[in-house]
């Protein structure tokens, strides 16, 4: 029995190592994916936090509020500002943006200070009236509204970027507006200008936000793109063994090896066990390689280093269970597919779909409520949740057991479907 199994494993390993395309799909492609996507997500993160967005600033206002607005935008630190002349036309702005001079252009309207001042005075008067204070000169008038600050953006900018930029500009505008309202209020009450020292003290006295990632092990490591992407793309890589393994099962069926094996005095389950053990080893090596790249290669590439969880045994067990599920799925596809093309096509597309549904491409919490049930059927979801429990939350194996159990359930179901398929096709 052991000799038959070891001979079968040896045969499977030999075939595997001679399948160059399969090896590329299993090792090179996920490594490239992990590097590229982590690098892209990391640069997105850095654009919003470290790097700056190339921006044209056209201040058509000659007053104080326009200058304050410029200062506030500068202070955000998100923009690499290039001043342009106030008389530049919208067409010229568009041309410069098409020439990739900038991806955003901010235009402060010409009467910004005057209108903002009027608006602030009205706001101050309304406020004082509401406070029950009566001032002789108080006369609330309805002035024209302040013309909006206009933002032009290049269509390459994604929705999430635009929202970040809009948020930053709104915050700047709020600062300028608040300053003006404050000045008006002070003047209405004291009939003197707001002293600079008090203005600065009031305006710069914002409360800070303290960001703390929650973790089970008490560590305060801020999750980065690597920590999110490496586990996700490792799972993706594991499931992509379908290209090699699914095809291998189909080839055996088509070239008659299955038929010959059936006439020999050995149960086909030996072949199934051998394939599972061989490819489980492959998935484990995939995880080792991708994790190693995250730990040792990423820092050299300017990407954040992967922090391995403290519960190494937990990582190994989760990796083996994820790998077993991936291998079972690949065999099932191979058993039911009629041609190699079918196995490759159905295998690859279904994995991308399960990855999308499972939260590998978009976080599961961001999915529509109807998907909250569907995603639970994706084994990749449970794989990802188990890894995230260890890599992001600093948990131990016992903390992710509730993610492992459904994964094991799905794996056993896949195994049963495979056995049914083999039986139905008279292969066992």
């Amino acid at each position: 029995m052991m000799f038959k199994l070891s001979s079968t494993i040896l045969k499977d390993i030999r075939i595997l190592f001679r399948d160059k395309l399969g090896l590329i799909f299993m090792f090179i492609m996920p490594i490239i994916l992990a590097i590229v996507i982590t690098a892209v997500q990391n640069s997105t993160f850095e654009i919003l936090n470290t790097n700056t967005v190339p921006t044209l600033l056209c201040n058509r206002d000659t007053g104080e509020a326009g200058k304050q607005m410029e200062l506030a935008i500068n202070k955000v630190g998100m923009f690499n500002l290039k001043q342009v002349t106030p008389n530049i036309s919208e067409k010229e702005i568009a041309n410069r943006m098409h020439a990739k001079d900038a991806v955003v252009a901010i235009v402060i309207p010409s009467n910004f200070t005057q209108k903002l001042k009027q608006k602030s005075e009205e706001t101050a008067k309304k406020a004082l009236k509401n406070f029950g204070m009566s001032i002789d000169s108080m006369h609330v008038t309805d002035n024209d509204s302040v013309q909006p600050v206009t933002v032009f953006y290049h269509p390459v900018l994604q929705e999430s970027f635009r929202r970040s930029i809009q948020g930053a500009l709104k915050s700047s505008l709020q600062m300028v507006q608040n300053r003006e309202v404050l000045k008006s209020l002070y003047f209405s009450l004291n009939e003197t200008a707001l002293p600079d020292s008090l203005e600065n003290e009031l305006m710069n006295n914002q409360l800070a936000i303290n960001e703390i990632p929650i973790s089970r092990d008490g560590s305060r490591n801020i999750p980065n793109a690597t920590q999110h992407n490496i586990p996700a793309w490792t799972i993706f890589a594991m499931f992509f063994v379908v290209i090699s393994l699914g095809s291998s099962v189909v080839r055996e069926k088509l070239n008659g090896s299955f038929v010959r094996l059936k006439t020999l005095p050995t149960n086909y389950l030996i072949a199934l066990i051998s394939k599972q053990l061989t490819y489980l080893l492959v998935t484990f090596i995939q995880a080792l390689v991708i994790f190693s790249i995250g730990i040792w290669l990423f820092p050299f590439m300017g990407l954040p280093r992967l922090n391995i969880p403290t519960d190494i045994a937990g990582v190994i067990i989760v990796t083996l269970i994820c790998g077993w599920c991936a291998v079972s799925y690949a065999i099932m596809i191979g058993v039911f597919a009629k041609t190699q093309e079918q196995a490759n096509g159905i295998g690859a597309v279904s994995i991308v779909l399960m990855a999308a549904v499972g939260g590998l491409l978009v976080p599961s919490f961001a999915m529509p409520s109807s998907f909250q049930y569907i995603l639970k059927a994706s084994p990749l979801h449970w794989c990802l949740q188990s890894y995230y429990g260890l890599f992001l939350e600093g948990g131990k194996l016992r903390d992710v057991i509730l993610n492992i159990l459904p994964l094991l359930g799905i794996t056993l179901l896949i195994q049963l479907i495979t056995l049914y398929g083999l039986k139905r096709k008279n292969l066992i």
């Binding site: 000799f3 045969k11 008659g256 020999l264 050995t266």
Partner: protein
């Protein structure tokens, strides 16, 4: 009286989902030590009958005994007793002949040393010793046929089923294969059960033949006796006499 290598009694078989049966009440006996040829037009049921005899298909009626064992009841234990050489190249083309023989030898129940010795012997006899470590995918059709045959006889089976073992090979390879099979039968006592459309080759190899048509055995005897009975000069004339001249594969 010699023992039956294969004894088929009142066999009934219908493919799942089909209304008409392939065989109904088919009976046939092949004695141990015979070189038995099963011939018939395309679609006559040769391969189906061979699959029933090797346990690849489960029949619904009657019985098939191989060396006294009912196939339906002793599938895996009976499998040690026979070898099967399918029409397709049923092995791993990514592997070398030696690697294929090592794997299929283990599955046939041989031990490491037996596999080593038998591999050397077979590759030598079948002219594959020089390419023992080359991948089969680089081989010619004739070499692949010899690998296919080597795997089937690896475990010294008492009965060897051969489904068109020489299809698509050149004269040299055909002679080599036929001579090897005759030697296997004469020296080792292996019973050969063979199907082919190469009737001249069959005349050289077989000492007993049966003609099957439309799921029925229409003639079964020694070639000499059948030729004499039907007053034909050879197997080809006998074949056309009994099965007609019209196409049978539509």
């Amino acid at each position: 009286m010699s023992n039956a290598a294969v004894s088929i009694n009142h066999l009934g078989f219908t493919y799942p989902g089909q209304s008409s049966s392939c065989f109904s009440n088919l009976s046939l006996t092949v004695q141990e030590g015979e070189r038995f040829g099963l011939f018939g037009p395309n679609g006559a049921g040769k391969t189906t009958l061979m699959h029933c005899m090797t346990g690849l298909l489960s029949y619904q009626q009657g019985s098939i005994k191989l060396l006294g064992y009912e196939i339906a009841n002793h599938k895996k234990s009976v499998n040690k007793l026979f070898g099967y050489v399918p029409q397709d190249f049923s092995f791993y083309q990514e592997l070398s002949p030696a690697e294929n023989l090592a794997f299929f030898g283990a599955w046939a129940g041989l031990q490491k040393n037996e596999i080593k010795n038998k591999t050397t012997e077979l590759l030598e006899v079948l002219g594959l010793a020089d390419v023992r470590n080359k991948r089969v995918e680089q081989f010619s059709g004739g070499m692949k046929r010899r690998v296919n045959l080597a795997i089937g006889v690896m475990h010294n089976p008492r009965v060897l089923f051969l489904d068109e073992p020489t299809v698509g090979v050149d004269v040299h390879t055909r002679h080599a294969i036929i001579n090897y099979l005759i030697k296997l039968n004469e020296e080792g006592g292996t019973t050969l059960i063979y199907t082919s459309h190469q009737l001249a080759e069959a005349e050289e190899l077989c000492n007993k033949v049966a003609l099957i048509d439309d799921g029925r055995i229409i003639a079964h005897d020694t070639l000499q006796q059948l030729v004499a009975d039907y007053k034909e000069e050879g197997l080809e004339g006998l074949f056309i006499n009994l099965t007609g001249k019209s196409f049978r594969d539509s």
